[in-house]
Every structure is written in structure tokens, then in C-alpha cells.
């Protein structure tokens, strides 16, 4: 297999947009191609993530639509749907296309538009990623899924609501430093703890927002990447799945798919969690960041809450997590999130992250979770 690099990145501002998801993707993709100094004519495939286009935009076949709006209508295009991990799944398959020798230059990205519909509707559409017969019938929501995880984690490890709130405070603090973030204001523990309950014990400020946005990146084979200005190498990209039904998961305080995907990624790259300098992980809810830091091996099981409370995951801490502001403050346009996380880590490893730069970062990790913890992708990146 050939080495693969990311040679260009592009991300729209996250938040509310009066444009279609295809337009948002196209802006990000054109920025990524410009960043890579790569003409669109050299793109040999597009791997695209989009989740609820069928519901919020009454639009299927969003892959070719996105390619057409970008202006590369004849490029083979495939849309991936693995709930909130869609564009990270797209990325992994694109890496394999380049690594195999099938293509030299491939575009990866994703976009989502949800703020054009009321919250009760988007809550319902997101719930479609849980089981229709067993879970949607109960009125289970995604905050509800992670509330079940939170209760189990609190019961098993003594994790507190204050520790969860510390994740939100930290990610909002980071978001202030990111011009593309949806929320750019600091909050306090009290802001989180006094916010309205959404699904006990999770409150409004434990939850990431609904967001519109797009993200894209250009992948290249080693030969092409050697001519690029700032290639960042893909050291590993791994996926894991788990039982769909929450009832079938033995221990709700853990996300086994994160543990398996991380183990596979570390094995591929020949490194361990201690070798990682910067992490962008899936903090759709504050508890999700705590559980992910444990599953990725950054902290022992049960220590994720303590790490958040002590500031070990802050910029300047032991291992900075979500310097972009994460899903919590940067925003979570679900089809774009996986690609956007990769764009952030590439920017960090290039040393171009400005006020939120993790000094001297050489290796980075991205982690994206889909649905009711049934899909996880983990990728590792390194600079020369």
C-alpha cells in the first residue's frame, strides 16, 4: 500500500447558513483545492458525507449534486452515511483508494443543513439513527442515548455533573480562538449546571448545537504529495462497529467501538496514545468526550472526568483535546464533522492554528462517533 497525505483543507464557518448543503460543501472544497494548489481537473474521485439531506432538504443523491455544484460533475462520487461519522467513513475509504494505487488525487468532504427546520424536527430526524422498532418507538433522542451513558458512567466511576460541565467550559474557551466556530463566547460551570435539562442528567450546555456547515480535504499519493507545500501524512485510518441496540451493549459506561478502532489505528501506525500531541474527538455531548478520552487510551477508564476537571485536556494541558472548540463550540454539521476534525488536526500539524495552536504538535488523532455508539472511526496523522 502507498503512503497517503492530506495536501489541502477547507472548512466553512459553522452555524446558520441560507445556502444548501451542496453549496456549503462546494465552498469548503474549492478552498481545499486552492489550499492544495491543485486544479479541480486532477480530482479523480469524490467521497462525500451527508446524513439527513433526505429529511431537511428533501434531497437524496447528494453526492453527485455536491460534485455538480462544485463544478466537477463527471468525477465518480459516492455518498457515505454512517450517521455523525459519515465524512470520516468517507475519508477512510478515500485513503484506501489512494493507498491502493487506484487514484492519485481524491477529494473528501461532507456537509449538512439542519437549521432550516425546527428543533423538534431535527431532533426527530437525528433519532432516525437509532433503531426504528425498538428505540424510536420509545421516543429515545440522542441526548437520551448519551444520558444513559452518563448515568452508567457516574454510577460506575463516580463521574460528576461538574466534571461533565468542565468539558463544555473548556471547549467553549477553545472555540473563542477559532474564527470558524459557531459559538465564540466563554461560559462558566454555572452556565452549564443551571441550563435547562434536556435528558437527565444532560442539560442544554452539555449538548452540542445543531449546525449547518461544510468541510473538505484533498488526499494525494506520496508522489503527488512530495510536490505539495505542506503534506500531512495519514498514519492510520480505522473503523469499528458495535451492536445497534443500546440494550445489546453490555456496559453503557464504555464505547467498545472507540476502543477497537483506536487499537486498530495505533497498530497500523505503530504508535500509542502517549505519542499523540493533539486530539480532535467526538464531543457531541460532554460525557461523550470523557468516555472517548478513556476509550482512546489517553486516560484510564474512569479517569476521563478527573482529566476534564483538572484541565489536562485544555490547550496547554497534558494532552490538548478539541482545540477547535470541538462539536460543542465549533458546531456539529453532522455530515461535515469527520472531515472538519481532520482539517483541524492537519492545520495543527502544519503549525498554522494561530491562537489555538498546540505548540510543537507532530502527531494528531481524530475520532468520530456515529449514531448510538455503533460506528466509530479513528485516524492518525503525522508531519515530516
Amino acid at each position: 500500500m502507498r503512503r497517503v497525505a492530506v495536501i489541502g483543507v477547507g472548512v466553512t464557518k459553522f452555524g446558520r447558513h441560507e445556502r444548501t448543503s451542496a453549496e456549503l460543501f462546494a465552498e469548503a472544497a474549492a478552498d481545499a483545492l486552492a489550499d492544495a494548489e491543485m486544479p479541480a481537473s486532477r480530482v479523480q474521485a469524490l467521497y462525500y458525507g451527508n446524513v439527513v439531506g433526505g429529511e431537511t432538504e428533501k434531497q437524496l443523491h447528494t453526492g453527485p449534486q455536491a460534485a455538480s455544484v462544485l463544478g466537477i460533475p463527471t468525477v465518480p462520487t459516492t455518498r457515505f452515511e454512517t450517521a455523525c461519522a459519515s465524512s470520516h467513513a468517507a475519508f477512510r475509504h478515500a485513503v484506501m483508494e489512494v493507498a491502493s494505487g487506484a487514484s492519485d488525487v481524491v477529494l473528501v468532504g461532507g456537509a449538512e443543513r439542519v437549521l432550516n427546520v425546527p428543533t423538534a424536527d431535527s431532533t426527530e430526524y437525528f433519532a432516525y439513527a437509532s433503531d426504528a422498532s425498538w428505540e424510536q418507538t420509545l421516543g429515545l433522542t440522542f441526548p437520551g442515548v448519551f444520558a444513559l451513558v452518563a448515568r452508567a458512567h457516574m454510577h460506575k466511576h463516580g463521574t460528576t455533573e461538574e466534571q461533565m460541565a468542565a468539558v463544555a467550559v473548556k471547549n467553549h474557551r477553545h472555540g473563542v480562538l477559532n474564527p470558524k466556530a459557531q459559538f465564540r463566547k466563554e461560559i462558566t460551570l454555572e452556565t452549564v449546571l443551571s441550563s435547562p435539562k434536556v435528558a437527565d442528567p444532560l442539560k442544554l450546555y452539555d449538548c452540542c448545537p445543531f449546525s449547518d456547515g461544510g468541510a473538505a480535504l484533498v488526499l494525494a499519493s506520496e508522489d503527488v504529495a512530495r510536490t505539495a507545500r505542506r503534506p500531512i501524512w495519514v498514519l492510520a485510518s480505522a473503523a469499528a462497529s458495535d451492536w445497534m441496540l443500546l440494550g445489546d451493549k453490555r456496559d453503557l459506561s464504555r464505547v467498545p467501538a472507540t476502543e477497537r478502532a483506536a487499537a486498530a489505528a495505533y497498530r497500523q501506525a505503530g504508535i500509542g496514545p502517549q505519542d499523540v500531541d493533539v486530539v480532535e474527538l467526538h464531543d457531541c455531548f460532554t460525557i461523550a468526550e470523557i468516555v472517548a478520552t478513556e476509550g482512546l487510551g489517553l486516560f484510564e477508564p474512569g479517569a476521563g472526568g478527573i482529566a476534564a476537571e483538572k484541565g489536562w485536556t485544555s490547550l496547554g494541558g497534558k494532552i490538548p483535546v478539541n482545540p477547535s472548540g470541538g462539536l460543542k463550540a465549533k458546531g456539529h454539521p453532522i455530515g461535515a464533522t469527520g472531515a472538519a476534525q481532520i482539517c483541524e488536526v492537519v492545520t495543527q500539524l502544519r503549525g498554522e492554528a494561530g491562537a489555538r495552536q498546540v505548540e510543537g504538535a507532530r502527531r494528531g488523532l481524530t475520532h468520530t462517533l456515529g449514531g448510538n455508539t455503533a460506528t466509530v472511526l479513528v485516524s492518525l496523522f503525522g508531519r515530516d
Partner: protein
């Protein structure tokens, strides 16, 4: 090939009548929640239906206060993951239990419920 021993439709038809049914693998004895075609433990394709007691304890729970469009008029409502005595777990609505008295480890018993005209899993209180 033969149809699975317990289809989703049959499971919920029986659940509506108050009976919970699991499936046991004829190859290795693993117990599972239907429907499954192959045993995730041994790969066999031989299932037998087995009745479940419906008795279990709450493994985790939440109270949904911001509901999806289709359930907005029902909020707040409690959902729990319940570990059944036989070892399998099911998600269900918890009914007839004050929301502020819910706790991990609380004993509950299966109760058939209908939510928006669809059969669903419910759990009510049980003396330990």
C-alpha cells in the same frame, strides 16, 4: 431458507399480549434478543424461542424532557436500560414510577405499552 424463529413482528405481537420472548442458540446456548439470523457467539443458524420472565433491574436511565416531534406531547418521560434476570437487556419506558425516584438497581417488571399506536416495551415497579 427457513424464516427466523422469532421475527420482529412476532416478538411485538407476543409482547402486546404480555409475553417477552428471547431466542436461544441451538449450537452454543447463547441467549439473544430477536431478530438475529446467525448466532453472534458461534455463527450457528439454529434458534429456539424461550420465554423471558420480564423481571429485571434498571442498568441506566434518563428522563427525556426535549422530545422528538412525534413524542413532544408525552414529555417528560423516563427511558431505562433494563437488565433482565436471564441476562439480556432491553430498553423501555418506565411507567408508574415517580421520575425523581428512578435509580440504577431499581427492580422493575415488563409491562406491555402502546406508544402512538405502536407496541413498545414498558417497565413498571416490582417488589424485590
Amino acid at each position: 431458507m427457513t424464516e427466523s424463529t422469532v421475527t420482529l413482528g412476532r416478538f411485538f405481537a407476543a409482547a402486546r399480549e404480555g409475553r417477552l420472548t428471547a431466542i436461544r442458540c441451538g449450537g452454543c446456548g447463547a441467549l439473544a434478543v430477536p431478530p438475529k439470523e446467525l448466532c453472534p457467539e458461534c455463527g450457528a443458524r439454529r434458534w429456539e424461542p424461550v420465554p423471558l420472565s420480564g423481571e429485571g433491574t434498571i442498568a441506566s436511565f434518563t428522563v427525556i424532557r426535549v422530545a422528538p416531534r412525534g413524542h413532544a406531547d408525552e414529555a417528560p418521560y423516563a427511558i431505562a436500560a433494563v437488565r433482565l434476570r436471564e441476562g439480556v437487556s432491553l430498553l423501555g419506558r418506565v411507567v408508574d414510577v415517580p421520575l425523581d425516584s428512578l435509580a440504577i438497581g431499581m427492580p422493575v417488571r415488563f409491562r406491555p405499552i402502546v406508544v402512538k399506536d405502536r407496541p413498545a416495551i414498558g417497565f413498571g415497579p416490582r417488589q424485590p
